[in-house]
C-alpha cells in the first residue's frame, strides 16, 4: 500500500514535531510513508473565510500531488474534513468538471486515528507515555468526520498513561480559524471555559488530533502560566520507553 502523508501547511510550518511523530509511528507499524514535496495546503482557511475562488488552485494541487496513492493520512481532523467534505464543492462552484472528477477519483483521505483504527486495525500502537493526559475531541473530527472514540481507544492502549476524562469535552474551544481574530472576545470566552475544564482534570498534558485547536487552548494555558502542556495525539502515540517525547522529559 502506497501511503502518503498530508502534513498540512499549519503543521509543516508551526508543528513539524507532529509530522515527524506520524512518520515514526507509521514506520513502527510497518507502513512505508511517502511525503510528496509538492503538497501545500487544503484551502480550509480560504474556504471557511469566504474566499472560495482562491481555493481552486489549492484543490487542484492537492488532487495532482496525491494522485496515484492508495491512501492519504493526515494529522488533522479539520483539514481532513475540508478535503473530504468540501473539495468537491470548490470544484463545483468553480464550474470545473475536470477538477470535480479528479476530486472524486482521488485516494481516500484519513485522519490519523481513522487510519490507525480502521485501515491498519490497531489500537495498541506500542506507545509508552507515563503522564496524566486529558483529551479534547476537536469539533471537525467529532462532528464532520465522526471519528467517535477512536482517539480515546488509541490513548487507552498507551502504556503508563493516566487518562483523565475532560468535562464538557464536546464543547468547541472557540478557535474556529479566522473566528479567533474576527470574534476575538467570544473566542476568548469559549477558550476560558475549555481551560477551566482542562485544569479541573489535573492533567499535565492536553492532547487532541488538531494542532490548531491545541495552539488556541495552549496559547491560553501558556498565557495563564498554568504549566499544562499541549501535545498532538501523534506525538503521544509515537513515544516509547526508548524514545520519549522530548518536550515532556522533565514532567
Amino acid at each position: 500500500m502506497r501511503v502518503a502523508l498530508f502534513i498540512t501547511c499549519f503543521n509543516d510550518t508551526l508543528f513539524p514535531d507532529t509530522g515527524r511523530a506520524v512518520v515514526t509511528l507509521l514506520e513502527r507499524l510497518g507502513c512505508r510513508v511517502e511525503f510528496p514535496l509538492g503538497q501545500t495546503c487544503c484551502g480550509q482557511m480560504h474556504f471557511n473565510t469566504g474566499y472560495q475562488p482562491e481555493c481552486v488552485p489549492l484543490v487542484r494541487r492537492f488532487t495532482e500531488v496525491f494522485d496515484g496513492y492508495d491512501a492519504v493520512v493526515s494529522p488533522s481532523g479539520s483539514c481532513t474534513a475540508m478535503v473530504r467534505e468540501y473539495h468537491g464543492r470548490v470544484a463545483e462552484v468553480a464550474g470545473d468538471e475536470r477538477l470535480a472528477e479528479a476530486v472524486r477519483a482521488g485516494p481516500p483521505v484519513y485522519e490519523l486515528s481513522e487510519f490507525l483504527v480502521d485501515v491498519l486495525q490497531v489500537t495498541d500502537v506500542g506507545a509508552y507515555f507515563p503522564h496524566r493526559v486529558t483529551y479534547h475531541p476537536t469539533c471537525h473530527s467529532l462532528r464532520m468526520l465522526g471519528v467517535g472514540d477512536k482517539p480515546l481507544a488509541l490513548l487507552r492502549a498507551v502504556q503508563g498513561i493516566d487518562l483523565a476524562e475532560l468535562p464538557a469535552a464536546d464543547q468547541c474551544c472557540g478557535f474556529g480559524g479566522t473566528f479567533a481574530l474576527k470574534n476575538a472576545d467570544t473566542s476568548a470566552a469559549m477558550c476560558t471555559d475549555k481551560v477551566r475544564h482542562v485544569l479541573a482534570t489535573g492533567a499535565e498534558v492536553l492532547s487532541a488530533g488538531d494542532n490548531s485547536c491545541l495552539m488556541h487552548i495552549g496559547g491560553s494555558l501558556s498565557r495563564l502560566r498554568t504549566g499544562v502542556r499541549t501535545l498532538h495525539l501523534a506525538e503521544i502515540l509515537a513515544a516509547t520507553r526508548e524514545s520519549p517525547v522530548r518536550k515532556v522529559k522533565s514532567a
Partner: protein, 480 residues
C-alpha cells in the same frame, strides 16, 4: 429586504463584546441553556428512530419547498372553501398594511397576540402602534419582554436573558400602566409570578375582539392552521375573539396530516424538551358558533422566495423554529440573542437573517462569521439544516460582494498573499524560512506574547507558538 434588524445594531463582534461583559446575562444564559440542553438530550434519547424522524422531517420540507407553488394554491383553495380569507404579502411592509387595515375594519383599537416569530419579523406591533392599535403579547415571556420595553433574545424563550428577580421588578413597575397591576407584595417565586401574569392577561383575553397569531404549520390538504404552545394563552387567543388574523411565512406549509405527524414529534422534543407540548390548536377556516367568526390568513414572502432560489441557502427554510441550535451553540450560550440584532438569533438567525434581509448592513455581513463552524447546531437540528455549510456559503457571498467594495482591504490582500504562497511549495518553503526568522525575533522561550497588526487580537489573550526553526518539509528533505 424590507424588514430591518433592530435599529442601529452594531456588527456582531461589537455587540458580543458588550454582552460578554454582562455577568448577570452570562450566568442567566449558562444556567438556562444548560438546563434545556439536558432536557432535550433526555427526551431525544428515548426515541429509537430519532435519526429516521429527522431524515423524514428534512425530506418532507424539501419536497414541499420544491413544489411550494402547488401547495400554496391548494392551501388558498381549502382555506377559502372553509370560510377563511387569504391575503398575499410580498414583504413585511405589505403584511403590516394588510393587518392594520383588517383590524381597522373591525373598529377595534386593541388586539391580543399569540407568540409569533413572523409578526415579530415584520415588526407588526410597531406598525399597529403607529396606527393607534395596541397589541398585547400574551405569552408569558413575550409579556415580560413587552412590559420591559425590551427585545426578545431567544426564539422559544424570549426572556431567557432575564432571571426571576428582574421579572418581578418589571411586573411591579409596568403592569399597572397597561391594565391589571401586579398584586401587592409580589415575590419572585415562579408560581406567584405566573399568577400575576395570569391575572393581568385574563382581563385582556375576555375583552379582546381581535386575535393575531402566527402558525407553526399550515396543512395544505385541508387548509388547516396549527399552533403548538405550552401556556394555553394561544388557545384563548384562537377561540375567544370574533376576528382571528394569522400571519404565516409561506414556508410553513406541509402537504398533509401524515406529514404534520412527523413534525409534531420532532418539534416539542427539540424545543422545550418535552415529549408533547401541552396545547396543540388546529383550525380550518371558520365554524358557526365555535370560535372566531372571521378568519384571515396573511401569507408572507418577506425574502423567502429569494432564499428558495439559492441552492445551498434554501435549506434554512426547513426551519421549524425549535431553537435547539441556539441552546447548543457555544457562541449563543456566551453572548445571548441580542448581539444577533434581530428576532432570529443564534445559528439559525445567522443564516436566516442575512438571507431574508440581504447583506446590505454591516450587521448582516458580520452574522455569517458569528460561528466557529463547530457543527453542534447541525447535529441537533430536527430537520437537518447543515448550518455550517450555509454559513460558509454566505461568507463567500459576503466576500464576493466585498471584492467590489466593502470588505476590509487588509484581509483581502492577506488572503491573496496566502493563496500566492500556498500555491507553490517553493514559495511556502521560503515563507517558512522567513517566518521562522521573524518568529525568533518576536519570541521569548519559544512563545510569542505579542503579535503585530491584524494578528494582535490573538495575542491579547493567548500566547502564540514560535514558527519552527526547521519546517517539516525541510526536515524531510534533509533526512530522506
Amino acid at each position: 429586504m424590507s424588514d430591518s434588524t433592530y435599529l442601529g445594531m452594531p456588527p456582531f463582534p461589537e455587540a458580543a463584546r458588550t454582552a460578554l461583559g454582562d455577568t448577570q446575562l452570562r450566568s442567566n444564559l449558562a444556567h438556562a441553556t444548560d438546563t434545556i440542553r439536558r432536557k432535550r438530550a433526555a427526551v431525544v434519547a428515548e426515541v429509537d428512530d430519532w435519526e429516521e424522524l429527522r431524515e423524514a422531517g428534512r425530506a418532507v420540507k424539501e419536497r414541499t419547498l420544491r413544489h411550494l407553488d402547488t401547495y400554496l394554491v391548494r392551501l388558498e383553495e381549502r382555506v377559502t372553501a372553509a370560510g377563511g380569507q387569504v391575503h398575499w404579502a410580498r414583504d413585511g411592509a405589505e403584511a403590516g398594511r394588510i393587518v392594520t387595515e383588517l383590524v381597522r375594519a373591525t373598529g377595534e383599537s386593541e388586539v391580543v397576540k399569540i407568540k409569533s416569530m413572523a409578526t415579530q419579523e415584520i415588526e407588526l406591533n410597531e406598525t399597529l402602534a403607529e396606527a393607534g392599535i395596541a397589541a398585547y403579547e400574551t405569552d408569558l415571556a413575550e409579556l415580560i419582554v413587552q412590559l420591559g420595553d425590551d427585545h426578545p433574545s431567544h426564539i422559544l424563550v424570549p426572556a431567557i436573558h432575564r432571571n426571576r428577580a428582574e421579572i418581578r421588578e418589571i411586573f411591579v413597575r409596568e403592569m399597572g400602566a397597561y391594565g391589571t397591576p401586579a398584586p401587592d407584595g409580589l415575590t419572585d417565586d415562579p408560581a406567584r409570578l405566573a399568577e400575576a401574569a395570569r391575572l393581568h392577561l385574563r382581563e385582556k383575553f375576555l375583552r379582546a375582539k381581535v386575535g393575531i397569531s402566527g402558525a407553526n404549520f399550515l396543512v395544505a390538504d385541508t387548509g388547516t392552521a396549527v399552533v403548538v404552545e405550552s401556556e394555553g394563552n394561544g388557545r384563548m387567543c384562537l377561540t375567544l375573539p370574533e376576528t382571528l388574523i394569522s400571519v404565516v411565512g409561506i414556508e410553513k406549509i406541509v402537504p398533509s396530516w401524515q406529514d404534520l405527524e412527523v413534525f409534531l414529534q420532532l418539534l416539542p422534543r427539540s424545543s422545550t424538551g418535552e415529549r408533547m407540548n401541552p396545547y396543540t390548536s388546529t383550525w380550518t377556516g371558520t365554524t358557526e358558533g365555535d370560535g372566531p367568526s372571521t378568519f384571515h390568513l396573511v401569507l408572507l414572502d418577506g425574502g423567502r422566495s429569494d432564499t428558495l432560489a439559492d441552492r445551498i441557502g434554501r435549506q434554512a427554510l426547513n426551519c421549524i423554529r425549535c431553537s435547539a441550535c441556539l441552546n447548543v451553540c457555544p457562541v449563543y450560550e456566551r453572548v445571548g440573542g441580542h448581539a444577533y440584532g434581530s428576532v432570529y438569533p443564534g445559528p439559525i438567525g445567522a443564516i436566516l437573517g442575512p438571507q431574508l434581509r440581504g447583506t446590505d448592513t454591516l450587521l448582516d455581513r458580520s452574522l455569517p462569521y458569528a460561528s466557529t463552524l463547530c457543527g453542534a447546531c447541525y447535529e441537533v437540528c430536527p430537520v437537518k439544516i447543515n448550518i455550517p455549510e450555509v454559513l460558509v456559503h454566505l461568507r463567500a457571498q459576503v466576500v464576493d460582494e466585498g471584492r467590489e467594495r466593502r470588505v476590509p482591504k487588509a484581509e483581502r490582500m492577506a488572503m491573496a498573499a496566502a493563496r500566492w504562497v500556498l500555491s507553490d511549495p517553493a514559495r511556502l518553503a521560503a515563507a517558512q524560512r522567513t517566518g521562522a526568522l521573524g518568529g525568533r525575533l518576536l519570541s521569548r522561550r519559544g512563545r510569542i506574547g505579542r503579535l503585530p497588526g491584524p494578528l494582535s487580537p490573538w495575542s491579547d489573550t493567548r500566547d502564540a507558538p514560535s514558527p519552527a526553526r526547521e519546517s517539516f518539509r525541510a526536515w524531510w528533505k534533509r533526512t530522506h
